[in-house]
Amino acid sequence: MLEIKNLHASVDGSEILHGVTLKINRGEIHAVMGPNGSGKSTLAKVLAGHQGYEVTKGEVLLQGRDLFSLSPEERAREGIFLGFQYPVEIPGVSNMYFLKTALNEIRKHRGLEELDAMDFLAMVKEKMKMVNIDESLANRSVNEGFSGGEKKRNEIFQMLVLEPKLAILDETDSGLDIDALKIVANGVNSFRREDRAILLVTHYQRLLSYITPDRVHVLLDGRIVKSGGKELALELEEKGYGWLEGNAA
């Protein structure tokens, strides 16, 4: 699904990612873990095409296609979804209008007919229930006045509606209480399918108690220093990241 080869990226001239290589197959869930400032969010944003980051070396293929030849919106239409660590507020634009516009852009790109308001509403109601989003939230402005937990659930809700091929979830677990965490995890698990892949970017192991990853990677100082199965996450929880620092050279 996604192949990252020797990826180097920098912000304002200083390099953050120093050669990341990673391969995610269809149907897999990968977790990228690491301490603050290790480059996790940079990796997520570079994949989504944020203009604040410059790719200096390496390549990324999405189903064999060069990702960097695509604009951010084209990547989204091709099936990349980024669950934001800090979802952005857009005053005056209703959540539903925003999501319907997004969905129809993506459907158009895939050669599907645009959904009309009625069909859209019916589809969306179903998915709102899955992540316990109140219908009143749907008509409020995008993320405006949402609590931290509501914003994160809203990201998962959008993912369920837009049905991407690859979902990159950047610290979706941060700031969630245990109930919200479970709701988010359920949403992600229900999204899991043979033809989709998920990249979880997280600081803590606790999300991984509810979502079982196929692979866990440790990102330290812009490099992946260790990869393993789901048990690696538990090991990190126990030992922290310090013991891996020697690997980062």
Partner: protein, 481 residues
């Protein structure tokens, strides 16, 4: 990676969509302004003596006045003697039916996207189309006539409803009011007149499309709307003008009068030529718009979407004279490239328990300068008066400016005032968030800006709201990158 910049620059250099000139022979007065010209205008229109006297008084007063300089706008000095003060399409012989209208004129309207016939029929809108200075087509007059509603060109009203003109003309904006209004009083060419009788609710939106055409023609419309006791009327004004290199002066006057329990809703979408992207050309728009809530529980509501003109100087205001009367001002003003707007409102509370609401949304892009200037004045007798003001500015890019000058004058201690103001920038983060959901940068800006303006757009009649949203998108093309 392809950035959105190239695409946007391409769109930004797109030419003004409505820039064309209709080949119609104009009946043009010689350039310059003096008493003879004023007399000529009056005689061309076969005006009664009182009208000429009024014009001459205004003209003489104008000679004693100086152009105001306090607004936050900059433009080269206007040579008032170089302009023409009268121009009428030659084929016009007074009001006609649509079938008699010069086909060239109709074609012009079609290019503007206003198929008069269809629009009138389908949308149920009565269009008093003003081409240059003289009304050439008025529709639905009969239907309105059955209800006793008068909707006609100003010139017609002067001839046929002289009593109403005498009574109300200058009663809200006196001919001595200000430099531009006084100039208008002397030389106004035409405009619209509306009278809604007691207890009548006007069943359709009344609409006028203004258009400036002949070269070097100053355009001085005069609009007068009177809503008698318990009546209701919604009036729409929409504008486009063809492309010109030379700046064109436009100084209109609009007067509204609402009697007891009457409501007037006045909506404007203004899309005149703003000048090219270097700031060359464009319309200078110096307008005086004022409404008087004369009666108890009367209401006047201004809604404006200002996207065009090189310079906008405009303060639709309300005089809240009747007890419990209500004044509202909802405004979206966009300045892109080198456009300058100094706009806002005045709410003058005279009667008891009068209420006013001001919602102003300024959007600046390119080198645009956007100024909100508003005054809320609460006089001694205005016990229990209330005002709510909200002024929000949105900046796109870092070369534009937003300025806010709220003036508040309170002479009654029971008054309640609320003022909120904000300035924000369209964040790259907002645009990126939209892009990441599959929405292009261009569409994202349009969506974000429309969201910002939502409180104003919902005050517009439906078809106008749609037009306004599109216009906003077009006006801001090329403003991100």
């Amino acid at each position: 990676m392809e950035t959105s910049t190239t695409n946007i620059e391409e769109l930004a250099t797109r030419e003004y969509k409505y820039g064309f000139v209709t080949q119609i022979e104009s009946d043009l007065a010689p350039a310059g302004l003096n008493e003879d010209i004023v007399r000529l205008i009056s005689s061309k229109k076969n005006e009664p003596e009182f009208m000429l006297e009024w014009r001459l008084k205004a003209f003489r007063h104008w000679l004693t006045m100086e152009e105001p300089k306090w607004a936050n706008i900059h433009y080269p000095a206007i040579d008032y003697q170089a302009a023409h003060y009268y121009s009428a399409p030659k084929s016009n012989k007074g009001p006609m039916s649509l079938d008699e209208v010069d086909p060239e004129l109709l074609k012009t309207y079609e290019k503007l996207g206003i198929p008069l016939r269809e629009q009138a029929m389908l949308a149920g809108v009565a269009v008093d189309a003003v081409f240059d200075s003289v009304s050439v087509a008025t529709t639905f007059k009969e239907k309105l006539g059955q209800l006793g509603i008068i909707f006609c060109s100003f010139s017609e009203a002067v001839l046929n409803h002289a009593d109403l003109i005498r009574k109300y003309l200058g009663s809200v904006v006196p001919y001595t009011d200000n430099f531009f209004a006084t100039l208008n009083s002397a030389v106004f060419s035409d405009g619209s007149f509306v009278y809604v009788p007691k207890g009548v609710r006007c069943p359709m939106e009344l609409s006028t499309y203004f258009r400036i055409n002949a070269e070097k023609t100053g355009q001085f419309e005069r609009t007068l709307i009177i809503a008698d006791e318990g009546s209701y009327v919604s009036y729409l004004e929409g504008c486009t003008a063809p492309m010109r290199d030379e700046n064109q002066l436009h100084a209109a006057v609009v007067e509204l009068i609402a009697h007891d329990n009457a409501t007037i809703k006045y909506s404007t979408v203004q899309n005149w030529y703003p000048g090219d992207k270097e700031g060359k050309g464009g319309i200078y728009n110096f307008v005086t718009k004022r409404g008087k809530c004369l009666g108890v529980r009367s209401k006047i509501s201004w809604t404006q979407v200002e996207t065009g003109s090189a310079i906008t100087w405009k303060y639709p205001s309300c005089i809240l004279q009747g007890d419990n009367s209500v004044g509202e001002f909802y405004s979206v003003a966009v300045t892109n490239n080198y456009q300058q707007a100094d706009t806002g409102t005045k709410m003058i509370h005279i009667g008891k328990n009068t209420r006013s609401t001001i919602v102003s949304k300024g959007i600046s892009a390119g080198h645009g300068q956007n100024t909100y200037r508003g005054m809320v004045k609460i006089l001694k007798g205005a016990t229990g008066a209330r005002n709510y003001s909200q002024c929000d500015s949105l900046l796109l890019g870092d070369k534009c400016g937003a300025h806010t000058f709220p003036y508040i004058e309170v002479k009654n201690s029971t008054a309640r005032m609320e003022h909120e103001a904000s300035i924000s920038k369209i964040g790259e983060d907002q645009i990126f968030y939209c892009q990441q959901r599959g929405i292009s940068a261009e569409a994202a800006v349009s969506m974000i800006v429309n969201g910002f303006c939502k409180e104003v757009f919902r005050e517009l009649p439906m078809e106008f709201a749609v037009e306004a949203q599109k216009l906003l998108g077009v006006s801001l093309e090329g403003s991100v990158g």
